[in-house]
């Protein structure tokens, strides 16, 4: 899926010849400390950041300017930052976002209500998003990323900064998506999250992938639990 990806910011090498392949239907995690290049890599997968070198293939199609809109129609992005529309209500946020995908109003409303039920925010549909707690806003961003019924879902640190309860709720939803056959790409720096959700993991540090394997193999091969593996491999 990604081959020899390199990204320079001026002279700084944010990604250094990174290669990986993600299989259909799996949950693939990128684990690494802050600044390891995870977010840069996610940005490349959804065409927001252009690689300085190397190429990305999604659904066996090489990414370029021309086919990007077609490919992005089938990708759902759940970003790290809160970029909801603060002037709009919960429901309006979903409807406006659905329009970017050319989903007709009626269908968009149906999907939005379904998703709000899925994240248990249906009673909040007409409330301005500013009035939502941080955890609820996060759930709404999560739901928004699913409005186009994507085949690939990118989750960039989906639970960073959440309280334990909201975190578990998000995990449950991710598990649900996994079982419905979606391909999930997830970044995290929580060991527990990676171990619980991911079929395979890439451990990253300083713009490189150090190793790719299943969580179990990693802890077997390098001894101890995954947290030890991670702390030994990456430099803080």
């Amino acid at each position: 899926m990604g081959k020899n990806l390199t990204k320079y910011y001026k002279n700084f090498k944010a990604l250094d010849s990174v290669s990986f392949e993600i299989k259909e239907g799996e949950c693939f995690g990128f684990l690494g400390p802050n600044g390891a290049g995870k977010t840069t890599l996610m940005g490349m997968i959804y065409g927001f950041i252009f690689p300085s070198e190397g190429e990305i293939k999604i659904f066996d199609i090489k990414l370029n300017d021309k086919n990007l809109p077609q490919i992005k129609k089938r990708i759902g992005v759940i970003p790290q930052d809160n970029n909801l529309d603060p002037d709009l209500s919960v429901l309006e946020n979903l409807i406006v976002y659905a329009r970017y995908f050319d989903i007709p109003k009626k269908e968009a409303t149906r999907r939005a209500m379904e998703l709000l039920k899925f994240i248990k925010l249906e009673e909040w549909s007409n409330i301005n998003v500013r009035k939502l707690s941080g955890g609820m806003q996060r759930k709404l961003i999560f739901a928004r990323g699913l409005i186009n019924d994507p085949d690939i879902i990118i989750l960039d640190e989906p639970t960073t900064g959440l309280d334990p309860r909201s975190r578990r709720q998000i995990w449950d939803k991710i598990e649900f998506l996994k079982h419905s056959g979606k391909t999930l790409i997830l970044t995290t720096h929580y060991m527990e999250e990676a171990e619980k959700l991911c079929d395979r993991l890439a451990i990253m540090d300083k713009g490189k992938i150090l190793v790719i394997d299943t969580p179990k193999n990693l802890s077997d091969k390098f001894g101890g639990n995954l947290e030890h593996v991670y702390l030994n491999m990456t430099e803080g």
């Binding site: 252009f50 970003p79 930052d81 970029n83 529309d85 709009l88 309006e92």
Partner: protein, 252 residues
């Protein structure tokens, strides 16, 4: 570039505006009215006649253009900057099938729409004052659109190059205020010192004001072609720049 997707961006801004317009509509509309009443009647009391018109007749067509100009400028400086930097709306939009150029086009057309809204309101008001005397005034509508496109582009260029939101003060004080004051809205620029006359020839607002006055009173002269040519040159030169400069600022 797909116009439908650019329209989606426009539509997003329109949806938000529909919720908030009550607070901004009155304010934006109040300021030009102040100029019209305070200067038109106040200062106008001391001026018997200017180029064969009363003073309020002289300034009204120009106020239409300056309102249209400021509407696009506020939208495409502060409005766009907040969406780009603080609300991260650009990030959200770019995670969908919409491309960067479509996003910029949506912003540009939305800024132009704001010109159209505020310019049209002023036309309605001045026609209530009896200041529209010709059927040519219908052409003020397309003229407002040209005005909106020029100043929305210029403002997006400012948005692409400012280091922070406070820097827009420079744009307003050093660029827009001189453009506004030396546009021939309040006094004919021809009577000013030579250097001002020459400088004002590159003021796009002056040419728009000239055309606006011609349409409002149905007096189309030879200068019309000259003014229109300058306006079109501005459009051709300015419109591509926001696409290039915003991309350079935003995309990594």
């Amino acid at each position: 570039m797909n116009f439908k997707r650019a329209f989606r961006v426009w539509q997003r801004n329109a949806t938000v505006y529909k919720k908030l317009y009550r607070s901004s509509l009155t304010l934006n509309f109040f300021e030009p009215m102040l100029y019209l009443v305070a200067l038109g009647y106040g200062l106008g009391g001391f001026i018997e006649e200017i180029m064969g018109m009363t003073y309020i007749e002289f300034i009204a067509p120009g106020i239409v253009m300056s309102s249209a100009m400021f509407a696009a400028c506020y939208e495409c400086t502060y409005g766009t900057y907040v969406r780009m930097v603080y609300q991260k709306t650009f990030d959200a939009v770019l995670a969908t099938p919409i491309s960067f150029n479509e996003l910029v086009l949506g912003e540009l057309l939305w800024g132009t729409t704001k010109s159209l809204i505020y310019g049209t309101i002023i036309i309605l008001v001045i026609s209530l004052f009896g200041l529209i005397k010709s059927y040519f005034a219908i052409f003020l509508i397309p003229l407002i659109i040209l005005c909106g496109l020029i100043f929305a582009s210029l403002s997006l260029i400012a948005t692409a190059i400012v280091p922070g939101i406070d820097s827009f003060n420079y744009f307003y004080t050093l660029v827009l205020t001189p453009i506004f004051l030396f546009s021939g809205i309040f006094f004919p620029v021809e009577d000013m010192p030579d250097v001002v006359v020459k400088l004002s020839q590159i003021n796009p607002l002056m040419h728009l004001v000239n055309i606006s006055r011609a349409f409002s009173y149905g007096k189309i002269t030879q200068n019309f072609i000259y003014d229109l040519t300058i306006v079109i040159v501005y459009l051709i030169v300015l419109i591509p720049l926001p696409f290039i400069l915003l991309k350079r600022r935003y995309l990594l």
